[in-house]
Structure formats: structure tokens, C-alpha cells
């Protein structure tokens, strides 16, 4: 019981993550690994946000890469065309994503299940089309270069630097998401996930809370998109595309719906597996698809919740035996 309480506490999750970010570089044989890990942290940030919407509030978004794209292009277009410094463009992009989510979310979140999935899919496709077609601003399908991030005279560049910067932002994002779970807002989201009627009857404004979760998820995705664009110094509309949206949803589901650590693990799996599977050459995608299917069959609740349940069961039998 004690052990389970420790495992479930948010400090435990934060501590595990901080230790991982701090210690992983000791095992890195080359600079390339810093880059892959930074990609994991950035994807994980977007996945954590999406998990608040999908895992806690139980609302699906198949267009979340749209917000990722808005964040990415904000730090590309802002400095290049409008003379806004990159850090301010990141903040403006997040604000723009939040406002768009607020405006679009109001009518769209009335829909449920499959209908909501299709409507959000449409939103994502719309953003990708705009980014592809407005080539005077966005460079079109070929993408556009992104100015380096400069903070107080410090030029943020290099894989190792970005590893630490993205790791720090991920820690912050994780802390905020973990905070939310056991508060009036977190309880309202989880309640409406399980029963909307019952939530309304105890006074929870279901529409307003769904909208809040949508806006939070959009802001997370936008910040992640900005970080990726700034790290890569280049951005293409693919980052806002449908495939990336599906990838984000897969991260949340494979890692474990509703689990903050799960979203991070899911991101790690989906970013690193393709790198590991290059040994299979032309069968790479086949093996990737097969592995994801196996994960879903054998760890149906997602990697983190399933492993946690197995571990808790072990502890119980040991205590009993």
C-alpha cells in the first residue's frame, strides 16, 4: 500500500523524469544521441498536453499537429517577416494556438466520439493546407529556415544545448500536468470523461471544461512545435500534417491514456523505435507497425499503466506470501 502510494505520487514521476534527463547523457556514445533524446523530450511535451485532452477529459483530437505547426511557423515567420524576436514569437504562437483552440473548440467540442475525431482532423488538415499554400509567408511545401534562438545574448545552438533546454521545458510541462490531476479542474475533467450527465448534475460546466482541456493541449503542442523549429533551424508543413497528428495520438495511447509518464514513454517509443529499426531496412515500417500492434494487444492499457498494474500485483502477492 505504501509502495503503491509512492508510485502514484506526482513527486515520484517528476523525480524519475528528472533523474532520466540528468543521467541519460552518461550513456550517450555520440552527439547524435543528444539530438534523438531532444526530439523525444519535444514530442513528449506535445503528448503530455494531448494526454490532458484525451486521457483526462476523454476527448479525441486528430488534428493536433495543426497547433504544433502553428507554434513551429510562429518562430519561423515572426522573426523573418515581422521582426519579432524568436522567444516572443514562441509566446505569440502559443497565444495564437490557444485563441484558435478557444474559437474552434466551442462549436467542435459539442461533437462526440467519431464526429469529434473527424472535425478535429479537418482542423489539422486546414492548418496544413494554409501553411503549404501561403508560400509567400511560409516557403510553401519546401518549408522555410528558422532564425536561431537568442536568450539574453546566449545563442541556443547545438544538440547538447537543445537536449538540456527541451528537457527543462519538458520537466516544467510535466510538473504543470501532474499538478492538475488532483485539483478541482483535474477532477472535473476526469469526471466528465466517465459520465457527462453525472458531471453536469454535480454542477460541472462540461462544455467549459472540455474547452479548457482543448486550449491547454493546443498550447502544449504549439510550444513543442516552436522548440522543434528552433532546434532544427528549419521547418516544413509536414510537421502540421495528418500523419504527425496520428503519431501524437499514438504516443498517448501506446504510453497509456491518462498517465503523464505514459505520454513521455509513448513519445520515446515512437521517436526512438524508427531509429532502432533502420537495421530492417525496407521492412522498417512493417516492423514498427507490428510492434505497435503487439504493444496494444499485450499492454492494452498502455505501457505505463499496464506495467504499473503488473508491478502492483507482484507487490501484493509478495506481501500476501
Amino acid at each position: 500500500m505504501q509502495m503503491r502510494a509512492v508510485l502514484a505520487s506526482r513527486f515520484f514521476s517528476l523525480f524519475v523524469l528528472a533523474a532520466m534527463i540528468g543521467l541519460l547523457p552518461l550513456a550517450f556514445p555520440s552527439g547524435y544521441y543528444f539530438r534523438v533524446a531532444a526530439l523525444v523530450w519535444i514530442s513528449a511535451l506535445a503528448a503530455i498536453g494531448l494526454n490532458i485532452l484525451m486521457g483526462q477529459a476523454g476527448q479525441v483530437s486528430l488534428g493536433h499537429a495543426g497547433f504544433f505547426g502553428i507554434g513551429a511557423y510562429a518562430v519561423a515567420i515572426g522573426p523573418a517577416h515581422l521582426g519579432v524576436p524568436p522567444w516572443a514569437a514562441l509566446v505569440l504562437g502559443a497565444a495564437l494556438s490557444g485563441i484558435l483552440a478557444l474559437v474552434i473548440g466551442k462549436p467542435v467540442l459539442r461533437l462526440r466520439g467519431h464526429y469529434l475525431a473527424i472535425a478535429t482532423l479537418g482542423l489539422g488538415v486546414l492548418v496544413a493546407i494554409v501553411l503549404t499554400n501561403e508560400s509567400r509567408w511560409t516557403g510553401g511545401p519546401d518549408g522555410m529556415p528558422v532564425q536561431r534562438l537568442v536568450l539574453f545574448g546566449w545563442r541556443v545552438a547545438g544538440a547538447e544545448t537543445w537536449y538540456w533546454v527541451s528537457g527543462a521545458v519538458l520537466l516544467l510541462g510535466t510538473w504543470l500536468a501532474l499538478n492538475l490531476t488532483d485539483t478541482p479542474t483535474g477532477r472535473a475533467l476526469r469526471a466528465l470523461h466517465d459520465s457527462e450527465v453525472a458531471a453536469r448534475v454535480v454542477g460541472i460546466d462540461v462544455a467549459a471544461y472540455k474547452l479548457r482541456a482543448f486550449v491547454i493541449a493546443a498550447v502544449y503542442a504549439s510550444v513543442a512545435g516552436s522548440l522543434l523549429a528552433l532546434m532544427n533551424s528549419f521547418i516544413t508543413p509536414d510537421q502540421a500534417g495528418f500523419l504527425h497528428s496520428v503519431e501524437l495520438v499514438t504516443m498517448v495511447v501506446v504510453g497509456g491514456l491518462g498517465s503523464v509518464l505514459g505520454a513521455i514513454v509513448g513519445a520515446a517509443v515512437l521517436v526512438t523505435l524508427p531509429q532502432l529499426l533502420t537495421v530492417f531496412r525496407e521492412y522498417e515500417h512493417l516492423v514498427l507497425g507490428l510492434l505497435i500492434m503487439l504493444f496494444m494487444i499485450f499492454l492494452r492499457e498502455g505501457i505505463v499503466p499496464s506495467l504499473r498494474a503488473i508491478f502492483a500485483a507482484r507487490l501484493r502477492t509478495r506481501a500476501a506470501g
Binding site: 499538478n179 469526471a191 459520465s195 450527465v197 448534475v201 460541472i204
Partner: protein
């Protein structure tokens, strides 16, 4: 003085009239039961009063204020709460969290404060938890607070719903078949709970099929049949009403029972 008043409520679904001209009034500290055969419109009536359905005609007033057509969350803020016949617990949350969610309206709510988990949020969380634990003890679930609601047995879930419905500190409480599917011991427990809730000054409206429970606990009874009011009165009056007997047992029995 009546707290919750329904006047001439009516609704139809695709031409089928489910509730037709039903009125009732519930007073603080009293138990009003609504009975009738299956399909009489009892649950529909509850859904109308609690704002889940929009009435085609009629009026609902709560504490003298017209609340016809108000959303459930608005009604909750004005002091109306309910339970569900087909359980609507938050299955992935613990029993305690279910009741804590029920305290929503009693909490200060700020997204920013919640995200940063400010000291005020933590303090309030402790207060909410304490209030929830008190309610869990009241429905005799004090030991089960940390159990996921989805893992609780049926009878416990019935009581958990009552605890959650009481969490907003309602003035009026609608209970939809709280004893359905409960064994004799559990029914006695529900009986005790309803009486205790009414004694706190809550206006209780009860839909229930267990006639022993209804006759024992009710101050007044409203009988519905085919969506229409059939009879109203004290338990003794309703029991002696030939129309009621006929509706429940069929016409020939009605005559015999009336003579008996």
C-alpha cells in the same frame, strides 16, 4: 412552504407522450415518493425536473424561482441534486474522488491556481477531502475511500451515488430507485440514509419500486400511470385507492382489493 414545485409538466418523444400534465411539490424535511408501473414516466419526470430534458410544457420552480429549462449545472448551483437509476459513477476515480468531484460547486476554481497547485489549492483540497470522507462515513463507505469506484460492488455504488449527490449540499434531492437491485440488508441501509437526509432538512423526491420501503418512508406519494397522475396522498390514502390497485394489479384484482 414547498421548495421544489413542478406544475403541469409534459414531454413527448416522437409523438409518444411520456409525461403528461404532472405536478408535484416537495417540502424541506419531507419525503415525496413517485410510484407507478414500468413506463409510467417516473425517470422521464426526473430528467425533466433536473434539466436533462427540456419540457414541452409546464413549469419548475426551486425556492420560489422559476428554473424551467435551466441546465443541470445551473440547477445544481441553485441547490438541486440527483442520483441515477442506471448508475452514473465516475468509474476510473476512487470512491473518495467521486464525492470530491461532487464538491465542485463548493470549491474556488481557478485554472491558473490549479496548474501551479498554489498553497490555497492544496489547503482547499484537504478541506474537500475531509468533507468527502465525512460523507463516505455517513453512507458507511468510510473504509472504501481509496478503492476505484469501478471495483466497488453494486450496493456500495448505490450509496456512493447518494454521497456524491449530497456533496454539493443540496436543498432538494431526487433519488431514482436507490434500492433497486439491493438485498434486504442494503435496502434497510438505504431506508436509514433517506430518513437521515430528510431529517437534515432536504426535500427528498424518491422514485422506487420497493413498496415496503415507499410505504414506510414517504410523507406523501404521487402515483403515475401512462405518464399521467393517477393519485396523490399519504401512504394510507394511496394504499386504499382503488385506481392505484387497479393500475398495479389489473382491473379484476382492483375490484376485489377494494372490497377486501
Amino acid at each position: 412552504m414547498s421548495l421544489l414545485v413542478a406544475q403541469d409538466l409534459g414531454i413527448a418523444f416522437g409523438g409518444v407522450v411520456a409525461v403528461d400534465g404532472v405536478s408535484f411539490s416537495a417540502a424541506p424535511g419531507q419525503v415525496l415518493s413517485i410510484i407507478g408501473p414500468n413506463g409510467a414516466g417516473k425517470t422521464t419526470l426526473f430528467n425533466l425536473v433536473s434539466g436533462l430534458y427540456r419540457a414541452r410544457r409546464g413549469r419548475v420552480t426551486l425556492n420560489g424561482e422559476d428554473v424551467t429549462g435551466a441546465q443541470p449545472q445551473v440547477l445544481a448551483a441553485k441547490g438541486l441534486s440527483r442520483t441515477f437509476q442506471n448508475l452514473q459513477v465516475f468509474g476510473r476515480m476512487t470512491a473518495c474522488e467521486n464525492v470530491m468531484a461532487g464538491r465542485h460547486l463548493r470549491e474556488r476554481r481557478s485554472l491558473a491556481a490549479d496548474l501551479f497547485r498554489l498553497p490555497a489549492v492544496r489547503r482547499q483540497n484537504r478541506e474537500t477531502r475531509a468533507a468527502a470522507e465525512e460523507l463516505l462515513a455517513f453512507v458507511r463507505l468510510g473504509e472504501r475511500g481509496d478503492t476505484p469506484a469501478g471495483a466497488l460492488p453494486y450496493g456500495a455504488l448505490k450509496r456512493l451515488e447518494i454521497a456524491r449527490a449530497l456533496a454539493p449540499e443540496p436543498k432538494a434531492l431526487l433519488l431514482d430507485e436507490p434500492a433497486a437491485g439491493c438485498n434486504a440488508v442494503e435496502t434497510t441501509e438505504i431506508d436509514r440514509l433517506i430518513r437521515a437526509v430528510a431529517d437534515r432538512g432536504v426535500a427528498v423526491v424518491l422514485v422506487e419500486h420497493d413498496m415496503k420501503l415507499v410505504m414506510k418512508i414517504s410523507d406523501r406519494i404521487l402515483v403515475l400511470d401512462g405518464g399521467r397522475p393517477l393519485a396523490e396522498g399519504t401512504p394510507a390514502e394511496v394504499r386504499a385507492n382503488p385506481d392505484v390497485i387497479r393500475a398495479y394489479l389489473g382491473p379484476q384484482h382492483g375490484r376485489e382489493a377494494a372490497h377486501a
